[in-house]
């Protein structure tokens, strides 16, 4: 494939896929170790009605109102979970399950009943995103990367996800020690004087920002897969947290690239004529990587013991 073909059609979707995957995988490492991995799943379900309501109010698929809608929906879900837990005397896990499913279902109903046919907003889009359509038509080749005019035509999802990824990396770097200590031994961290409650909320908020930004570009399937699969596979490769995070970035990147390529060309190699959903394939590849790590990872015994 030449640069003239690759840069406009494949470079941006691959980069967006990689950024989304890493932005979710980084907080995913801590969420998995804290046994909170399903928070990523939860966020991606809860935000759907928020995004749809934002669309209905503004009548356009624009990023910031949708982010606000998503944040509002996340807030409402937290209040609902707490209310159900207290009033219904139901344990937190079950209350979460009820709220997430109900809110996602409400989002699906809202989508069906509203006229969203003119825009890319439907159930399939919510699940799979629309990675393949995030192309860069202004580009003519590798040299376009230095051409301000062409760069102005980049799909807005790319700079937005780059910004979110930078935020996630900065958070992980600055709060590395408190995150590590409080994830391992919360009581000890508290006696040191750490505000572990605020840190836990900050971690979930960073995860939510990553999830919402990624959801907008690549759909909820990738979000769920990337929060769990690369960190879980990485844990099977090493007994050191820093190395684990490194492996999770490698696996997230690998999933994004291989998933995109297999989705576009895999069916052709197998004699078919269509391509399949890149988001679905990226999530599948991350699952395969996790399966391989579970079978062959050097640290898999330690996990089972």
């Amino acid at each position: 494939m030449t640069g003239a073909e690759f840069v406009p059609l494949s470079l941006t979707p691959i980069l967006i896929g990689i950024f989304a995957a890493i932005a979710c995988a980084l907080p995913g490492n801590f969420l998995v170790l804290r046994r909170q991995a399903l928070i990523g799943d939860a966020i991606s379900h809860v935000v759907l009605p928020g995004i749809v309501v934002a669309f209905l109010l503004t009548g356009a698929v624009t990023a910031w109102p949708m982010m606000l809608g998503a944040a509002g929906a996340a807030l409402i879900s937290v209040v609902l979970i707490e209310a159900i837990r207290r009033l219904g005397r139901i344990e937190t896990g079950a209350a979460m399950g009820v709220v997430f499913t109900a809110m996602f279902a409400a989002g699906v109903l809202l989508l069906e009943r509203s006229d969203t046919s003119s825009v890319h907003l439907d159930v399939e889009h919510a699940l799979m995103g629309n990675l393949e359509s995030l192309i860069w038509l202004e580009a003519t080749g590798w040299r376009s990367l230095l051409d301000p005019q062409a760069l102005a035509g980049l799909p807005p999802e790319l700079p937005r996800l780059a910004l979110v990824l930078a935020l996630v990396i900065a958070f992980t770097w600055v709060f590395w020690r408190p995150l590590k200590i409080s994830t391992f031994d919360e009581g000890f961290a508290q006696v040191l004087g750490m505000r572990t409650d605020l840190l836990g909320i900050a971690l979930v908020m960073i995860a939510a920002i990553a999830a919402v930004a990624a959801f907008d570009a690549v759909g909820s399937i990738i979000v769920i897969a990337m929060f769990i699969c690369p960190p879980a596979a990485a844990r099977l490769m090493t007994d050191d947290l820093a190395r684990q995070v490194g492996w999770s970035v490698v696996f997230a990147t690998l999933s994004a690239i291989l998933g995109y390529v297999f989705a576009g060309y895999g069916p052709l190699w197998l004699g078919g004529s269509d391509s399949v959903s890149a988001a679905g394939m990226i999530a599948t590849v991350s699952g395969v990587i996790l399966a391989l790590a579970a079978l062959f990872g050097p640290r898999r015994r330690g996990m089972m013991a």
Partner: protein, 268 residues
């Protein structure tokens, strides 16, 4: 002249003077998990330089007392002072060793790394770990006989070894007050001996040690002070003062045979 005498001379009432000099003084501490209180209106005054065992039957609120005093659990009411000052100003002088079973030992980290966590207040968010920090950590590991295990993943250790690593982390903190939650739970005899030797050396250096303990038989041998609790405080003082037939009966009720009570109160 003792600190207590000094404080009294400075015009403080004896009770206030005791609190001002106590490494850990608790007043009116009440914690409830549901409708029933876990601990109720507990006063406790730890003597400077003492080794105190917090003793009581299962569910008496021993761990809860420690956690609430340290702000890990939010109490319904009550105050804690550490060396006569608010807890928040004295955190650098406290080393806390949680129950071994309270953490996930599968966590991807090494023995040395866990001990380095004890230097967090010094290292802060971003300061680099220098060789002097590593030396502090290895010295602490040497004191508990775990220097050879520095690079091991913590999940590969036995229960006793894990407990020693936790103690080494506390030693690395270089604190003046050591609070341990069940340090002898599920450890081998050699580890128990090693831990008590380290705790006694801390006391010899003038540090204060408080440990939740549930083996009545070893209290007298290991500790010089005892605090008996069964939701409400029962007795406090030297082991001999605290271990009377009445207080043991009050703390343990029917759970101890009369013969046991006789033996313990006489030993005390």
């Amino acid at each position: 002249m003792t600190a207590l005498n000094l404080a009294t001379q400075n015009g403080l009432r004896p009770e206030a003077a005791e609190i001002a000099t106590s490494p850990l003084a608790i007043r009116g501490l009440t914690v409830s998990y549901g409708e029933k209180p876990a601990i109720f209106s507990v006063d406790m005054t730890i003597r400077p330089g003492s080794m105190t065992a917090i003793i009581g039957p299962n569910g008496a609120g021993k761990s809860t007392l420690l956690k609430a005093a340290l702000g890990i659990i939010r109490p319904l009411s009550g105050q804690t002072t550490v060396f006569g000052r608010p807890l928040d100003t004295q955190r650098a002088r406290i080393a806390y060793v949680p129950q071994r079973a309270s953490v996930d030992w599968d966590f991807p980290t090494t023995v040395l790394d866990v001990v380095l966590m004890g230097l967090y207040r010094e290292l802060g968010l971003l300061r680099l770990v220098r060789s002097s920090h590593r030396k502090t950590a290895t010295d602490a590991l040497r004191r508990v006989g775990m220097a050879d295990f520095a690079d091991r993943q913590i999940g590969q250790l036995s229960g006793g070894q894990q407990q020693r690593v936790f103690l080494a982390r506390a030693l690395a903190q270089g604190a003046d007050l050591y609070l341990l939650d069940e340090p002898f739970a599920g450890v081998d005899a050699a580890t128990e001996k090693a831990i008590i030797a380290v705790l006694k050396s801390l006391k010899a250096d003038g540090k204060t040690v408080v440990a939740v303990h549930h083996d009545l038989a070893t209290v007298e041998q290991y500790f010089d002070h005892a605090f008996l609790i069964n939701v409400r405080p029962v007795a406090e003082g030297t082991v001999a003062e605290a271990f009377t037939a009445e207080s043991l009966q009050a703390a343990y009720g029917g759970r101890l045979a009369t013969a046991q009570i006789d033996r313990l109160s006489q030993a005390g």
